[in-house]
Symmetry: C2
């Protein structure tokens, strides 16, 4: 979608931020990144703009820094998700997903050893559910909130059993959807998110990453 160099810079920066290689609070100095990524400042600036818009990068004064993990933001994210996805699941269950849509859902519940890929798939699963509503704004809103809390979710999924729990939850949810059990699916999703939220908060508990302002 973006220009090739910009896309590359964006993906590498995003990856470094999400995997916490670039720590929250760390300043993004364009001329350093120029050297690090071996591209000129132009695509780097475009990439930073993009990340800024997505909320992964913050601006404090004139300098761009990696956005800190924000506990309040996390709580708001889960409140919003719960409410959004509950709706999503109700709609999805009532409009029984067709074969192709089920395929897409199932494709995102394969186990994988790499936690980063696992997380991508979990994200895809929730977005595929949202797509079942046929409403692009639902999908866009969910995509935004998932992206925003990506780093915290990364911490959660790398815990022992972190990924397995999510996987089995997702599988069960698909079953409920197939059977058209809207209310059961909504209730189960709510529990799923509640569990996820608690595990995630626990992962963050005492994390040195919380509230770090600079490296």
């Amino acid at each position: 979608m973006l220009a090739p160099q910009t896309e590359e810079a964006y993906r590498r920066l995003r990856r470094m931020i999400l995997s916490l290689e670039l720590r929250p609070g760390e300043p993004l100095v364009e001329r350093k990144l120029e050297e690090l990524l071996a591209v000129s400042r132009t695509p780097i600036r475009a990439a930073i703009q993009q990340l800024f818009r997505e909320g992964l990068v913050q601006r404090t004064g004139r300098v761009y820094t990696v956005a800190p993990l924000d506990l309040a933001e996390l709580e708001e994210a889960f409140e919003f998700r719960t409410w959004l996805e509950t709706y999503v699941v109700r709609v999805a269950a009532s409009r029984r997903p067709n074969a192709r849509q089920l395929q897409e859902l199932l494709a995102s519940v394969e186990a994988d050893l790499d936690p980063e890929i696992e997380l991508e798939k979990a994200t895809d699963f929730h977005l595929a559910l949202a797509k079942l509503t046929g409403n692009r704004f639902v999908v866009a809103s969910l995509a935004q909130v998932l992206q925003r809390i990506y780093r915290a979710r990364y911490l959660e999924i790398t815990r022992p059993q972190g990924a397995d729990q999510a996987l089995s939850d997702h599988l069960h949810l698909i079953e409920l959807l197939q059977q058209g059990q809207a209310e059961a699916a909504a209730a189960f999703l709510q529990r799923h998110l509640e569990r996820s939220r608690e595990a995630l908060l626990e992962s963050l508990e005492g994390s040195i990453l919380l509230g770090v302002r600079s490296s």
Copy 2:
């Protein structure tokens, strides 16, 4: 928030798009805009990127064009808004807004002769409502959908009585909120949006702007 030249270019471009001065489908040629806006391509490119992310600008092949008005998108937007704002109003009514918050709401229901300002105020009103939930994702999602259908709303509000109807609706809604009548407020909002949707579709009916692909 953005750099000054970029901000200026962004605002002017956005204004030209939203006011339909730049028609849907019209290509945005960087070197033409350079001349038109009297700034270099760098801030223009940044501004276009921003508009692209917001959905006001599309990419067809390698050229950026003003996004066409999309009837399906409009329907989805109203479906999403209705559902989102119904929730917003319920929450807002239950947590009776305080004086400062009411002030903010009331500030956005002053009549104005300029339809553009009127529309900004209507937008502010709905966003101020969303803020009452205290959830930044609710606000961000609503802001995005309102922005996305801004041009169609502009067409609606410039119709005779278009602005007055919205204004009196907003005033009534504030009253219901003050009285904490959550269900009545939610129901009224739903009617408000339904009216708005119909007026808007009527404005678009047969509009030459629908589906235009190039100038």
